[in-house]
Symmetry: C2
Subunit: 444 residues, 2 copies
Amino acid sequence: MTDKKLILGMGLIDGYGGLHGAWRAPHVDPGTYADVDATVRHARAAERGKFAFLFTPDFPAVRADVEHSTISNLMDPLIQLAAVARETTNIGFVATGSTTFQEPFNTARQFKALDVMSHGRAGWNAVTTSDPAVAANYGRPVADRDERYQRAHEAIQIVQALWGSWQQDAWIKDQQANRFIDPSKLRPVNLQGEYLASRGPLGIPPSEQGQPVVFTAGGPSPHLLSIAGRYASGFIAEVWTIEQACAQRELVRNAARDAGRDPDEIKYIPGIMTTVAPTVREGLDRRLKYAGEVIEARLPHLGAILGIQIHPDRYDEPLTPEQLVSAHASPRDPRSSNALAVARQGWSPRDILAHGVIDFHPTVVGPGELHADHLQEWFEAGAADGFWVTPDIYEDGVDAFVDEVVPILQKRGLYPTEYPGTTLRANLGVPHQYGPDPRLTGAE
Amino acid sequence: MTDKKLILGMGLIDGYGGLHGAWRAPHVDPGTYADVDATVRHARAAERGKFAFLFTPDFPAVRADVEHSTISNLMDPLIQLAAVARETTNIGFVATGSTTFQEPFNTARQFKALDVMSHGRAGWNAVTTSDPAVAANYGRPVADRDERYQRAHEAIQIVQALWGSWQQDAWIKDQQANRFIDPSKLRPVNLQGEYLASRGPLGIPPSEQGQPVVFTAGGPSPHLLSIAGRYASGFIAEVWTIEQACAQRELVRNAARDAGRDPDEIKYIPGIMTTVAPTVREGLDRRLKYAGEVIEARLPHLGAILGIQIHPDRYDEPLTPEQLVSAHASPRDPRSSNALAVARQGWSPRDILAHGVIDFHPTVVGPGELHADHLQEWFEAGAADGFWVTPDIYEDGVDAFVDEVVPILQKRGLYPTEYPGTTLRANLGVPHQYGPDPRLTGAE
């Protein structure tokens, strides 16, 4: 491991936090979704903890249940991150933008403007979109996978070419000589793909990191790996076990190798959800308090995950020895092995679920040491280069993580005590890039 | 006139100012184009002068001459205005966004997010785009005018419907009752036009002004008047004379009447460029200092505008009595009558051009009184409800306008001494609107 440090990013979702019902906590203003002051506050808390970036997932449509749940993303990632950029100095911004429904010229322009404005802290999480609700918002049918990914290749190539179209030394700005730009260094890109095209150039100069860092996200299908391997410096993952993460990370690294890159140029970043509390019991109680209904509704499902029958009368009793003997992790559900491990610690079904065992990501509940142990174990097993952390409730959960987990990681030598630099590239440890990667030859 | 006040907006272009060569002034950092701190500083200066809004023209392509001239717009209007919104409290933002090349769902989302974030200060200048260089950046052909305007109607209708799709009382956010939104009040819009469609809803609540204010801009063609009359609360104009402005304003007001609206609901806002200086001579010298080459290059054109021959040896002498007798304003160039009026004041050809007589907008050069007189004359003649002002050099020109012109307008009772309110609607004096205008029935 030597002196390699783990990277932390923070998932910025709806303004409330990763815990179901976070918006209902009495110390949370239920109007936070529309309150950018709160987003700024949470970003500054993460910056205090030397987080390398904020990550905004995005789903440009309203999900089904908004009566009892929140809107699961920011009002608009780039608009809100532009505001946050004004009030932070080191933390980066990895904003999700669809290659399916965004115009490459607009993507190139807005992300590079944010990058210049933030002095080199922007990243673009380039993803394809197949959800019919999103497609309907853009008045289009859902494209098939081949088309979506061909379009994604074209979009990323066009965006990176536009980023490089203002050459790094194009801006003369010599007042005496009356020369603003060297026009020979601001050139059209003239890219024409099967689905997308752009002439350019883009009239935006380089930032302190050159251009925004490209990420991608999702399950490692061959289609996505071909995107990740060629273009991405970061890979946002959803995995539940170390084994799964190690295997996936290796696929991602191999994809980079296949594209002629050093695999260390792409950082594999799985998600984690956190509840930092003095004891596990207090952490579980915090989660039950706000997510109680959701956990209640999931109880009938727990037996299925463990392959046993659980009677509703026994939801608040530890599993019996007989149940524990016959319980087994389903090979088809990667969350079930963790559910089984928690069950074996002697928790009741309700408490097992309160551990977040069937939540979106691995969840850690309890003191800072438990969190640090989890991150260290994954990191040292080669399951992650870093993590995107979604605290249970932003209002106090970011500070709790920064105060209780970060110092332990620092003490263990796993995490930087100061920002390595002022740009996202520096803080991720990924190489400089301007324009397309010269090692790639043309479109797929 | 009674107590009606004139409205001021400030044109935010490249960061330097409206004067050719502003970027070369020694007191200007030539890197200002990429420096949002400067944009914030200029915005705050305008806010000190109670400007109702900042207006960002936009041209998403690089114009031909960038060797000696600047990029003529912001890096990205919305991204930069989002930053400015964090550091201002009352000034509004009217950002140009194309109905031709922007997805209505994205327009609706980003503008409403900015509106909510700025507590009700956003406006959308909805324009069509026919420039081949812009079309090429989006990989598309230039559409014909009928198609562009049909698309514009559809885009504005979809955007306004999406803005209204989160009904004003939809957000319950009752923590005790565990009800976040009333789903019956967050409804799809299901709009399907000939070119554009969107299902919605848009997951963004109302702002303090409900939704962004719609503007439009351009010459008053029947196509544009049909947009302005139906949807716009502000009309950004380019005119050179009072007569032209009065006629155009009446066309715009009639278009609103034809759409069943009160003509006072649409504010007609022509442009003006300003050089505030202790004397006219000092103002002209300031302009000659930075725009000297451009003025030099235009000198051969001045004779044509005035219908006389001007020998290059006489560029620095006043026109002769014989020349002044035979000079006449061309009925085909609205700028020529002003050029003639300036010539008759006894200025040399070079000084006539330094008055900005063939610039983008009427230009005033000299003491604050001259500026106030111009604005008052136009305002009282019914040629304008307000003006969008582009100072010659932002770095000191905004402060000069605020310190030397605004107090005179206030003393004359023409201009508010305090912001009428905190929202763009309040500061423009336009009525509340949420969702589509109920007086309009369907698409054209």
